[in-house]
């Protein structure tokens, strides 16, 4: 289990040599981005114990900002990422401050973050002048990323594959570093017994906010790439169902482990394509698999594999 992440990375690095299908690459790319989302979400949920439903909003807002800056104002993609992440940071600090100052816990926190997220979605949905409302914005040409030199265009499936893989690695490493440090221990303390943590000198508010903001900004980073790769952004990016999907990925893979959400995300992204059946059968089977997996492996896939790594 210790070598799970490096092994997976190695396989991922060489997989495109064997796979030549554009659609499989696309599934992998979406899988990587979903995994990045899930890993960053798990920082907030699995490791800090805060069930945030703001993740989709961070993701979507950033995707919108980048897309608007690039399509309407002609910005360079990389440049556009900066204000996008800044906005996500500010939003998450505002929402986080409100929630944590008022000591909203558990489902109260979940529902209030969902409320903020929904309000943002409705604003984007109805702010027709800027966001083109429900139609969303299409990146007219095949989306491509310019490297700073302006020479190489990243537009092929393979290039995006490695780019999003790198994104996942970055998100993973950032979370891993945070969790293996003293911050990770503070987060664990907050998750398990915040009153005790507080009497041991941990500034619970500060660390909750930190984890929420870092997780949200990472989600924003994923959003920036996601909108660009898929070629369109739409209000659905901020939907509750995306938030629930992320939760399902994390739970399936295993909360409280770093690699778990990656596994969960890849499986849940690929699953609908693997079970290629009539629509009714497919969703029925999808649900049954979800239920079955949880009943058989109550701690997620990683929990089943045995080595549960704690964050302290």
């Amino acid at each position: 289990m210790k070598y799970a992440a490096p092994t997976a990375l190695l396989i991922a690095l060489f997989a495109p040599l064997a796979v030549h299908s554009d659609s499989i690459l696309a599934i992998a790319i979406y899988g990587f981005m979903a995994a990045s989302l899930a890993v960053s979400f798990n920082l907030i949920f699995g490791f800090t114990g805060q069930l945030s439903l703001f993740h989709a909003a961070s993701f979507g807002v950033s995707a919108y900002i980048v897309t608007i800056l690039v399509t309407a104002f002609g910005w360079n993609f990389w440049l556009a990422v900066v204000p996008a992440l800044a906005v996500v940071l500010i939003l998450s600090l505002i929402v986080g401050t409100i929630c944590f100052r008022f000591k909203l816990k558990e489902f109260y926190f979940a529902v209030v973050t969902m409320a903020f997220s929904e309000i943002l979605r409705l604003v984007i949905l109805n702010w027709n002048g800027i966001t083109n409302g429900s139609l969303g914005i299409t990146v007219v040409d095949r989306p491509s990323l310019w490297t700073p030199s302006g020479a190489v265009q990243i537009s092929s499936g393979i290039a995006w594959y490695y780019l999003t893989l790198a994104l996942l690695v970055i998100v993973y490493v950032v979370c891993q570093r945070i969790l293996s440090s003293w911050i990770g221990r503070c987060l664990a303390a907050i998750r398990l017994n915040d009153q005790l943590g507080e009497t041991l000198g941990i500034d619970v508010f500060k660390y909750k906010l930190l984890s929420f903001a870092v997780g949200s900004v990472l989600a924003g980073l994923v959003g920036a790439f996601y909108g660009f790769y898929s070629g369109f952004v739409e209000p659905h990016y901020l939907s509750i169902s995306l938030g629930l999907d992320i939760i399902a990925m994390v739970l399936l893979g295993g909360v409280g482990s770093l690699i778990g959400p990656v596994i969960g995300a890849v499986i849940l992204t690929a699953l609908p394509h693997v079970i290629d059946l009539s629509a009714e059968l497919r969703i029925g089977l999808y649900g049954s698999i979800l239920i079955f997996v949880i009943l058989v492996m109550p701690k997620g896939i990683v929990g089943l594999l045995g080595s549960r790594k704690n964050a302290a």
Partner: protein, 256 residues
């Protein structure tokens, strides 16, 4: 005076749990707090530790008011309190508890330099220092053989001891212990006694609540007795325990 409490009052609705309590604690002392059940002992310590906010009165720590600070700020100033009902992180092992309790140590040692450790991935040298320190502390508290067990699997006595060990590893200047000996057997209590005496020689000031009069009566230099939220006796421990009001309200006649 290390800690100086003046006119402390705490009301819960119509109930006055602490009424006009004033006392001081000098550096290096061991102060015992006695009193019948519900007399306001825990509430007083919670007020000092910032877990509760006083209704009235002032709490001066080295001359500065700390009555309105949050509990983590109080802890950062060097006052640590343990809980009467053991409070732990159920999923974590004993050793992990101790690592978390080293939070303030790391913060003091590295300051903002902690951020650099993020890049390296480990806290570096400090790691060895902390491990040694934790081992030593667990040894003292007879928890060394339980270091790998999760808190949920501990017996009540071990839970209590872990709480004390965590408090000690925070390196407080003043350690507030709420009934550390309740649930401990005789043997463990004498060990605790030795540990706490040793702690004092290292310059830590202690303020302890306990109903084990034998234990705390021997340990404390000075005692305060509370009844109905008010101080009914204060002074040398033996004097307080001989005080007739204390005997009547708390010890029962035969103990006198």
């Amino acid at each position: 005076m290390l800690l100086d409490i003046q006119g402390l009052i705490k009301r819960f609705g119509g109930l006055t749990a602490v009424s006009n309590v004033s006392f001081g604690i000098e550096r290096g002392e061991i102060v015992g707090i006695f009193g019948p059940n519900g007399s306001g002992k825990t509430t007083t310590l919670n007020l000092i530790a910032g877990i509760l906010q006083p209704t009235e009165g002032s709490i001066l720590w080295k001359g500065n008011e700390i009555g309105r600070l949050a509990s983590f700020e109080v802890a950062q100033q060097g006052l640590i309190k343990t809980f009467q009902n053991p409070q732990l992180f159920p999923e974590l092992t004993v050793a992990q508890h101790m690592r978390i309790a080293c939070h303030l140590h790391i913060k003091r040692a590295l300051g903002i330099g902690r951020v650099l450790t993020l890049l390296r991935g480990t806290p570096g040298e400090l790691d060895g220092v902390l491990t040694r320190k934790i081992d030593q502390m667990l040894e003292l508290c007879r928890l060394a053989d339980k270091r790998g067990e999760v808190a949920g699997a501990l017996s009540y006595g071990s839970e209590k001891m872990l709480g004390v060990a965590m408090g000690m590893v925070c390196e407080p200047e003043l350690l507030l212990l709420d009934e550390p000996a309740s649930g401990l057997g005789n043997d463990e209590i004498s060990n605790l006694d030795a540990v706490l005496r040793d702690l004092r020689t290292h310059g830590v000031t202690l303020c302890i609540i306990d109903h084990k009069v034998g234990f705390l009566g021997r340990l404390a230099d000075r005692a305060i007795a509370l009844h109905h939220g008010a101080i009914i006796a204060v002074g040398k421990t033996t004097d307080v325990l001989d005080n007739s009001a204390v005997v009547e309200a708390y010890l029962g006649k035969k103990h006198a």
